[in-house]
């Protein structure tokens, strides 16, 4: 199980890479969204915002009304943020679940893919 500190550290790394990636910033142009993360093994809750083509810091707890809700186990989130795990494999096996419109889900996947492939 990954602790809150481990998840925050992993996310900070992901955020730095994502915000510095010109392809990704172009991909999220005009796409301001609130994303909730929930871990089912540890019951942790986090909120990520995308505003002005930039990923925000990860806030502990659920804040605001989400556009997308991502649920999974803490270890998978940690590996995903580090770019060590292809989240699509977990999604296609049902271990990561998503709620939200197909277009929003595609963008989330795009962010995670860029982090995964470009790392």
């Amino acid at each position: 199980m990954a602790s809150t500190e481990e998840l925050l550290e992993a996310y900070a790394e992901w955020r730095t890479r994502s915000n510095a990636n010109p392809r990704l910033t172009k991909m999220v142009r005009g796409w301001d969204r609130v994303i909730h993360f929930t871990t089912i093994d540890t019951g942790q809750a986090f909120t990520m915002r995308i505003e002005g083509q930039q990923l925000s810091e990860l806030a502990v707890g659920h804040e605001g009304q989400p556009d997308v809700v991502v649920t999974g186990i803490s270890e998978d989130f940690c590996d995903m943020f580090w770019g060590d795990l292809n989240p699509s494999e977990k999604y296609m096996s049902g271990e990561i679940t998503l709620l939200g419109s197909q277009q929003d889900v595609m963008r989330i996947d795009a962010i995670s893919m860029v982090a995964f492939l470009d790392s």
């Binding site: 790394e13 989400p66 649920t71 296609m92 709620l99 197909q102």
Partner: protein
Amino acid sequence: MTDAAATLSSRATLRRALGLRTVVTTSTGLAFAALEYLAAAGLVVYVAGDSAWIPIIVAGGLALVAYGFFGELNGMFPTAAAIRLYMKRAMDDRVALTITFTYLTTIILVIASDAFIVGRALAHAFGEPAWVASIWIVGLLAIAVVTNLRGITVAGLLQDAATSVVIVATLVVGILALVRSGHGLHTPLQPLHGHHPGDFLQAVALGVFLYSAFEWVTTSAEEVRKPRSINRGMLIAIAILCVVCAVATVAMSHTLSHHELTSAYPQLYLGIAALGHSGLWVMAAVTAVTALNTFNGGFITASRFIYGTAREGSLPRQLAQLNARAVPWVPVVVLGGLSAVVALLVALTHAWEVLVAVGAALEGMIYAVAGFCALRLRSREPDLPRPFRVRGLGVLGPVGIGLFGLLAVLASVSVQDKFDPAPLVIILVAGALSAFYVLRILPGIREREAARQAARPRRRPGR
């Protein structure tokens, strides 16, 4: 809070979520493609007089069985990736992938046939020669590809309006055509009069095709406000399709000549029978609107599925490339290209009845597969939560699998009311190509991907 309660709570707070109305119109709109009119006209030749409504009602009953299968599976796996999840848990993954790729053929066929039908209908309405339809076809598909590549999708409200227009217009035109004919129905209760019982089964197979794709709405399971909306929406969509298709088909059998029924645009003749020359324009416009739903739903469903499968590592990585608008551009372009080729081939060969038969057979096949998966998972994963549980699946499952399998076989060897193995050959070729890919090419792709991932340095500290 339990996981299920947490999920429900999350759905309730989503900023954008689909309600029951949009689920109903999505399910109905996906099923009601332009090909619907040709399938309805094709069904008429298998039964006597104006009794076409009977096989449509029977097919509606079978669609309810399929609804039960998909309802249970969707309840267990409420995700756009559901088909991958339940198939690989119910059977060998190689078999699951072969069936899935073969089934993808249906989506290409529906997109292609809609492009062809709309192209032919518009060319006819404008009084242009048949070859001009090819320009319409390429133009329509090009527009569909470009709008998809730009990430433009039909919003829920527009989709609600488009589907409502198609359904209401078809129903009104059908009723008006019947009323204006000025004479009573011919043998409305004797479908077998002068026909073989096998003909009736063929009519039911085509009838099942009239409902096909209603289940594609399950890919919206992640977007709905209430999970049960998907099942309720499918049920309401089946009822709507049953009424509209029954009225339109009986109206066609009652008012159109054999030549008109076997044309590429029987719905235009139905419009003329109902409203005179202005009816032609009404139905030409309605036909064009059906394409909006098909192109929007078909391209999105298929391209996102191909993308997800490529991301999972079961298709070449090139298919997972995204453009600047986060659209999987390679699948969209490939789908558009393949659909254009198929549509132009149909325009050249005038073999649209073959497309109808292939689609009917593949739908029968996938409904049988869904029944198998629902049944198999009862024994393999008995403890998986089932918010929707089909009663009597032990009996309904095998009966449904047998019936859908039989209808698939019958539909695959008959075009119009004559024996023709062309649909079966097309399905076998598609199946063989899928199996060749899964058995011979995919292992290499997976090996290379595994080696690539193994060579990647782990970024997470201490791992």
